[in-house]
Each structure stands twice: as C-alpha cells, then as structure tokens.
C-alpha cells in the first residue's frame, strides 16, 4: 500500500470524507495507483477535477503515484 496526503480545495472539499474542509488528510491505496484511482476513491466527478497537482506539478489521470506524495485537487475557475 502507499500513503498519500490529499487536500481538496474550494467546492471540492465536500468530497472530504472527514468533513467539509480543505485540511489535508491521509488515504491508503494499493501500490501502482493512479490519480484517477484517488478521484474514484473519493467519488469526485471527473468534470470537477481537471486540476490535480501532485507535489505541486499538474498531472493527468493516468499518473502513477508514489508513497508519500501530496495530491491537491482544485476546481477550474476562469471568471473575470
């Protein structure tokens, strides 16, 4: 298993299983898990999670995660 630190920002915090907050929390997934598996595990709809940053770098859904990485998920905002 790998341990990941996850933080869900703005409107996505409603998917935080520990209560509606952007505070980071830990999840455990099998070795070889991808960004997509994190989103599935947390039941975050794909269209709401286009901006996933792993250790500060934007990554696509198929990115394979390593133990100890930090995953931050933001909704896209584009208003002016």
């Amino acid at each position: 298993m790998i341990k990941l630190e996850v933080a869900l920002f703005a409107t996505l915090r409603r998917y935080n299983p520990y209560g509606e907050s952007s505070d980071p929390f830990t999840i455990q997934l099998p070795v070889g898990s991808t960004v997509e598996q994190v989103l599935n595990e947390l039941k975050i709809p794909v269209k709401e999670s286009k901006q996933v940053f792993v250790d500060n770098v934007r990554r696509e859904k198929d990115y394979v995660l390593q133990d100890g990485q930090r995953v931050a998920v933001f909704p896209p905002i584009a208003g002016g």
């Binding site: 920002f9 703005a10 409107t11 915090r13 907050s21 952007s22 709401e48 286009k50 901006q51 940053f53 500060n56 770098v57 934007r58 990554r59 696509e60 931050a72 933001f74 909704p75 896209p76 905002i77 584009a78 208003g79 002016g80």
Partner: protein, 287 residues
C-alpha cells in the same frame, strides 16, 4: 516656452521630503497650467518634472512603494494592456491609473449590462449599454488625466490581439473565458512580454505571473481544450468582493514587474479560498 523654467518656478511653492531628501513638488493645477502653456500632455509635464527631481504632488504617498521619484518616472513611461474590462479589468485599470502608469491599453468589445452592476467597478447605472472600453477611458480621465489610454472597443481575436498588445511592457489577463486567455498567452509569447493572470469564481480566486518561456496556463488548466471554456463560476457566479481582491493582487504584480521588484508570483499559482480563509501557493512546473 521652456517647460523646465516653469516647472522650476512652480516647484518652489511646496516641497516633499522622501528618504531624507527634499524635493520640489508640483500641484495638479501647476501641471495643467504648464501643459497648456507649453502645448505638452500632462504626462509629458510630469515626466519632465520627475526628470528634474520635481515630484507631482499626486504621487506623494506612492513614493515609498515605488522606490522614490525614479520609480514613479518608470511607471509614467510604462505601458500596460488590460485585456477584459469587467470585474477584474475595471479595477486593475483604476488602480494602475491612480499609481500613474503612463499608458493603459483598454481592450474589451462588450457593453455594460445590469448583471455587471454587482461587481464591475466601472459600471454604473448611467453607463448601462455603453461600451466598457470607452466607459473605462472616461473614468480613468476623471481619476488621473495624465494617464494616456488607447481604447480598443473590440473583442480579442487571433488576428487583432498582437497588434493591440504591441508596445506594452506587460499585459493583464482579466478575461472571462479560457480560449481567449490561451490566445492572450500566445500573443504575449510572440511579443516576448509577461502577463499577469487572474481568475475568479464565487468565493475563490487565483493569480499567477507568466513570462514567455514559462509553462503558463497549461500548467494550471491543462492542455488547451476548446470544449472547456469556463470553470465553476458559470454555476456559482461572482460577487463584488472576490474580483476586487484578485484585481488588487494583479495590479500589484503588474507594478512589481514594471518596477523590477524581482520577487513575484512567477511560476506559482496563488489560489485564494475565502470560505476556508486560506491562500494556497502551488509551484507551477511543466510536466
């Protein structure tokens, strides 16, 4: 008539002390009078004055921030393009005009409507139906008539954008859709100028400074996707407060670029969540 003589004569009436040095100061009335006598623009008179170490009084309280008369002179000689004049762009234009950025290029093809009144600082009941770029120019003239403006009351397209940005030192991304934001990035890269990105949605906002060689918008939004034009703001809307917050940071970053204050949001995305009360900074790196 030689403006230097007039500036010298008028500067004796008041002085400003900055950093333990005493400078002559010019009132707005004096700037106007000298401009009229010498057939110069107000901006030219202010530039001439600052070159002689005489400070237009209107900038007195800015000196500590801009680094003294040299910084103010730098701002007056600068040109900034503001792309989009809605919630973000209207306030960015106003703040830069107050700071005395010499030339502002105002780009927006839209007209003010009632749904703008809750947040767009240039919009008033009196200008409903008026083109945003012209309304902004009128407002800026009332605030600081020394600031010159170039009005483009048209929407940015791949054909016109580079021409509108040309000659600017910095562009400010105050747009409300992703395709034009990426178009602005293309234009800035072609002209080799930085731009200050800002976006808002409801209680949230973000700011980043992007230079031509940086990963830029792709590192924030992912690859350009013509089907993805908007973010969560389409469902959540925008209040008065968040645009003001983000626009202030954009204006500040613009001033820092013009003044060559090195530390900036370059290659970082500042994400603001005013519900949670947090400012999150993400390092932006290419994949």
């Amino acid at each position: 008539m030689d403006p230097a003589k007039l500036i010298k004569a008028k500067a004796n009436e008041k002085s400003i002390v900055f950093d333990e040095v005493e400078y002559g100061a010019l009132s707005l009335a004096a700037v106007r009078k000298i401009a009229s006598i010498c057939s110069l623009s107000l901006r030219e008179v202010e530039v001439n004055a600052l070159e002689m170490g005489v400070i237009p009084q209107r900038y007195e309280r800015s000196l500590g921030t801009v680094g003294g008369p040299a910084g103010q002179l730098q701002l007056l000689r600068s040109r900034v393009a503001i792309v989009g004049l809605g919630g973000l762009g209207g306030l960015v234009a106003e703040l830069l005009a107050r700071m005395g950025v010499g030339t502002l290029v105002l780009i927006d093809g839209d007209r003010f409507s009632e749904s703008n009144l809750n947040r767009q600082i240039i919009s008033t009941e009196a200008v409903l139906g008026v083109q945003k770029a012209f309304a902004a120019a009128t407002r800026l003239k009332e605030i600081n008539a020394a600031v010159e403006h170039v009005v483009f009351a048209q929407f940015a397209t791949p054909h016109n954008l580079e021409g509108m940005l040309s000659g600017s030192d910095v562009a400010v991304d105050c747009l409300d859709n992703l395709s034009t934001r990426f178009m602005l990035q293309d234009g800035c890269r072609a002209l080799n100028i930085p731009f200050v990105h800002g976006a808002i949605a409801q209680f949230y906002g973000q700011v980043a400074v992007i230079y031509p060689g940086d990963p830029g918008l792709t590192a924030i939004y992912g690859p350009r996707d013509n089907d993805k034009e908007h973010g969560i703001e389409k469902e959540l809307g925008n209040p008065a407060t968040t645009p003001a917050l983000v626009a202030s940071l954009q204006a500040q970053e613009t001033l820092k670029i013009l003044l060559k204050i090195e530390k900036s949001f370059r290659n970082r995305l500042l994400f603001i969540d005013t519900i949670q009360g947090c400012f999150e900074t993400i390092q932006l790196e290419g994949e």
